[in-house]
Symmetry: C2
Subunit: 319 residues, 2 copies
Amino acid sequence: MSKLIDIPAAAEFLKNCRDVHILIHMNPDGDCIGSGYSLQAVLKLLGKRAKVVCMDPIPERFQFLLPEEQEEEFPAGNIISVDCADESRFGTFRETYAGKVELCIDHHISNDGYAHQAYVEPDASSACEVLYKIYRELGVTFNEQIAKCLYTGIATDTGCFKFSCTGADTHLIVSEIMREFPQIRYDLINRKMFDVKTPSRIRAEMLMLSQMEYHLDGKCTMIWETKAICKENHINQKDMEGLTSLPLQPDGVEVGITLREQDDNWYRISLRSTDQVNVSEICAKFGGGGHVRAAGCQMQGTADEIRTTLLNAVAKALA
Amino acid sequence: MSKLIDIPAAAEFLKNCRDVHILIHMNPDGDCIGSGYSLQAVLKLLGKRAKVVCMDPIPERFQFLLPEEQEEEFPAGNIISVDCADESRFGTFRETYAGKVELCIDHHISNDGYAHQAYVEPDASSACEVLYKIYRELGVTFNEQIAKCLYTGIATDTGCFKFSCTGADTHLIVSEIMREFPQIRYDLINRKMFDVKTPSRIRAEMLMLSQMEYHLDGKCTMIWETKAICKENHINQKDMEGLTSLPLQPDGVEVGITLREQDDNWYRISLRSTDQVNVSEICAKFGGGGHVRAAGCQMQGTADEIRTTLLNAVAKALA
């Protein structure tokens, strides 16, 4: 298990580290990208070399968070992970980094303690919110890139301040960032993150909404992003990314499930809960994890098998 | 023109008023409802009689903001309007109240100065944000109802903190409200305001998306909520309410227009802008008004006439 440290100790670690590899998770999202690249920028301000390490490329819409200069290659002096609850989140980079992460900064209640030391705030909205506090402890002066990274991470992980993970601290931190950098067009970041859609994305959403399954008296909804559906409807599977909030749209839903077909009957599964159900507990049964109202896991089987297994678990949680 | 007063003077007015009629606008939204009912609650805390006056009923999803006790009827001692830029916003109540509003509290840059006195903050996200500052000046201790009213008003007028009207003050105020009332389920308010949809609402959105018009090289989009479309598709026109952000979904859109058919070839028109265009100026040409990135007006004519008129105005603004 990780040695649990506090904010001053985490800041102290950052002061003393060098040649840092910053690990973020596979299928990178706004929070791990904002965390990784803000940390890189902060470490550079402290005069250190640092690079962000991810098995997947950074999606196009997050490219504005990256530094302008080309990233250097160098062997790891110290290894830090951000927003990674366990080592499986490193994906294929697990082999290289397993057992070697010296400091993990995270906000997942399911963090399994894989790092030598960890600072985890399960009540924080996002890893970026946790990092903001550590940066303030360090006393570094932010630049625009750091501000944009932190804002984007917090906004994306809270669904633009909509989800239950959003707290008084979340809004206070964003208020401070906006006060310091009023010139940043946060509305355009939000538009890019939440509103802008390609025509094929709009078709994908309409398709998923029209095919949504209603189970357990409408308390549980499912959408299936299968290869066959994508192919039939000429939709790139990429356009199906991040549709996990769609199943929560109908009134009365308690748990909304998004199932994304991978290879060989494997499905990547996202569960979202509106109120009653702790989906982190459900996902933990299947080797996954996450937060109380947003969690994920992977399962292998036919659609029928997986549907039955999940509905049993959700019905039990609702009972 | 109104005498423009400051926050202490507005607070002083509230201290000295009695038997207050609080006017909110027709087709009431979260901000005017939150403003009206928070002001009523604050005035009650100050020992005064106050009631909210609106020509339209308060929609079902905002009923949780209303006080539990039955509202009293009494003649107006003082008259205050909130979130109303001009007297046309009173609708049929204009006859009764025109020329009689003693204090207007608002955040519309297009406020035309109809009230005897006014406190208007065009930079504020919402009327609720303005009222929050006045309540703090008054020094009243909030209760849960006031907190919910203010949160709901701010959240709805900012699109859950997504729009450009959201500032450092907005987030700071929400942070203070959440710190004081951590027990309120803000996530469920957000869900009710932004996410929950009836099956017929979901169908309405899919229909509008599939029929969206692309003009001016995709820089201007339009959706038409006509009676014929509603009838053909068995959609209640109520389910078309508040679809004004749909036309902004496609990448590259500068102005998104929603046209809602009323009677006798009249259309209620909402314009939304993503970045470049001041839609308040466009709407002003047609007797309407609003904010830089969200404004409205009414026009009479055939769909073809109105389409041409609007596209000319938008093309000019884009040039």
